[in-house]
Amino acid sequence: MKRIRKHPLDGLLRPERLPHLWCPGCGLGIALGAILRAVKKRIEEGYLRREKIAFIGGIGCSARASLYVDFDSAHTVHGRAIPFATGLKAVKPDMKVIVIGGDGDIAGIGGNHLMHAARRNIDLLVIMMNNMVYAMTGGQLAPTTPTGLYTTTTPYGNPERPINVVKLVATMGANYVARASVTHPPLIERYVYKALGKKGFAFIEIISTCPEVFGRHIGMRDAVDLLNALRERVVVKQRPHIDESYYEWEGGKFVLGEYVDKDDPSYLERIGVIKG
């Protein structure tokens, strides 16, 4: 007799919408699991009500997460998840609106919205999965791709420097900025849990591994090899300085930690939609 074993997070997923499109060895599942454990904890503690949580994604592998979770959710236009979420939050201030997207979606095509949403300090949680490549479309250059690496559109090596999204968002005045990594799932869970309790703009970058596209192109197709290569480059700090946030792949470090944690008045407080 076959026994159907359920995943502990099945109650928060849409199993009938599965299978997902993520490749074997992809880091996104690790990240989503940790995110959902944090959400689940907030629900079980009575801090969040399930029907008052929304997941908004744009286009890309990471953004698909919003379709696999069993909440009010949206699969929006590439790069425009943050404006969608802003409009939703403005008329539904009692909801916790979570944006999940990749580095291309959030910091590339959607970079202008990210910058202004952080400056506005609008009450959202934006989670950017950073696999440093355009994965869904087959491995093209991302604004986050480290210098020198091969992508299909920089076949002679990336001549550009990667955008430091953590520093950008911090500079724009967000209330909470943290960087985590799929090599350290408990950190993801802890930061998401914390960010869910923040007012104003909260931003978490999760460094993720894409063995099928990013890894393959740099000679590291094996998922475990790539994960280990990332782990070697990761440093965890309690309260890192913002100047420690820049990364490179060759000879660089990914410094994880909570870069910003403050309580400036949020946008919705300032316009009187929610009480300070």
Binding site: E16, R17, R50, E51, K52, A54, I56, L67, D70, F71, D72, S73, A74, H75, T76, V77, R80, I82, P83, F84, A85, T86, G87, L88, K89, A90, V91, K92, D94, M95, N112, H113, M115, H116, I271, V273
Partner: protein, 374 residues
């Protein structure tokens, strides 16, 4: 009780109309000749419990409107040609996800930056099919500040009633024309609500009128807003069957409900042998021309659609009656002429394209009509 009367332009009239119809959210980016509509709402809408946000561009604006609409709020943005071009991807998203929203499109002279403070009617096809994909959406076209008030309210109502983005196509001439506006009662914008409990609800399952009831976020329905081709649940369905079914329903939803959209006005058409077809601000000059020509005993009338899209042949034929010759007068290179000529194959249809940064004059129109009389 007498309705309030104000001396205002069409932009402010739109703002008053949509607020009376129940607008709760506006997102926008400044652009001539639209900004006074935005500024007026920024003052007035918060007083009525609504939210107004200026975004970093038109792309953000329309996507925020879509988000607010899924939050249950009657929502709108306003722009002109360049901004509309930026909004097109968002508009296509709203069409696919059947998101109610109003887009006030105040045309200005064209292409590119053109003459921002002046107008033509160059963008009627942009309003119809500017975005990517197969679709139909309603576009209403007022000819006065009074009608801007009424059609603004109606467009918001239609958007909610049909779960479709709706365009109110005005222009810079009307935006700068101050006239008497009576704030007559208008219908409140309301969408169909789910009639089943959340576990049975499917966000894209239509009723007989092809419009699906719409649950908002935050009500426990676990709604899925899906931009991919989807089934009734909102789940990705990359098959011919599902795609054809969805596309034809989105199109037929608007076409079959055309009687809710169209309210074509006719003037002096009883027994008319000749007709002018004109819309928006240009119809004002056409109306003056018709009256003048009738003084010279020409049996001429005016057909003035208040909705350009979807184009309904039956509606036009009813308006034309027995007129055998139709002049299509418009402030562009002859755009609506293409549709009118196609629909009226058995009549003589003449294009009268008069590009004028202010308005075609009645004299210009009279001259053309008389030319053909000889």
């Amino acid at each position: 009780m007498m309705a309030r009367v104000e001396f205002i332009n069409a932009n402010l009239a739109i703002a008053e109309g949509v607020m009376t119809a129940g607008l709760r959210f506006f997102a926008g980016y400044p652009i001539t000749p639209t900004s006074d509509l935005f500024e007026y709402l920024a003052v007035e809408l918060p007083k009525r419990g609504g939210v107004v946000i200026q975004f970093e561009d038109e792309i953000a604006s329309i996507n925020a409107v879509i988000g607010a609409s899924w939050g249950g709020a009657p929502a709108m943005t306003a722009t002109s040609g360049p901004g509309f071009s930026l909004m097109l991807e968002g508009l296509s998203f709203a069409i696919m996800t059947e998101t109610p929203l109003l887009l006030a499109y105040i045309m200005r002279a064209d292409p590119s930056t053109g003459v921002p403070t002046k107008s033509t009617q160059a963008d009627v096809f942009q309003a119809r099919y500017g975005a990517h994909g197969n679709y139909e959406i309603p576009a209403l076209v007022p000819w006065s500040a009074q009608e801007a008030y009424e059609l603004g309210a109606k467009a918001l109502w239609l958007a909610e009633r049909l779960r479709v983005p709706t365009i109110l196509l005005s222009d810079a001439t009307l935006a700068h024309t101050f006239e008497r506006v009576e704030f007559v009662p208008v219908r409140r914008a309301e969408r169909k609500r789910p009639k089943v409990p959340p576990e049975e609800y499917r966000p894209y399952e239509p009723e007989d009128d092809l419009v699906p009831p719409m649950a908002s976020f935050g009500e426990g329905y676990n709604v899925m807003v899906e931009s991919l081709t989807h089934d009734e649940r909102g789940y990705y369905a990359p098959t011919n069957e599902a795609h054809r079914k969805l596309i034809w329903r989105l199109v037929e939803k608007v076409r079959r409900n055309w009687r809710l959209i169209h309210d074509t006005k006719t003037y002096f058409m009883e027994g008319a042998e000749v007709a002018i077809y004109a819309y928006g601000s240009t119809a004002r000059a056409a109306y003056a021309a018709v009256k003048e020509l009738r003084r010279e005993n020409l049996r001429i009338g005016l057909i003035r659609p208040t909705a350009l899209w979807p184009f309904i042949d039956e509606d036009l034929k009813n308006a034309v009656g027995s007129a055998r010759r139709v002049f299509v007068v418009e402030n562009n290179i002859g755009l609506m002429y293409k549709e009118v000529a196609r629909a009226l194959r058995d009549r003589e249809v003449i294009s009268v394209p008069i590009i004028d940064l202010d308005l075609p004059t009645p004299e210009q129109i009279i001259e053309v009509v008389k030319e053909w009389r000889r």
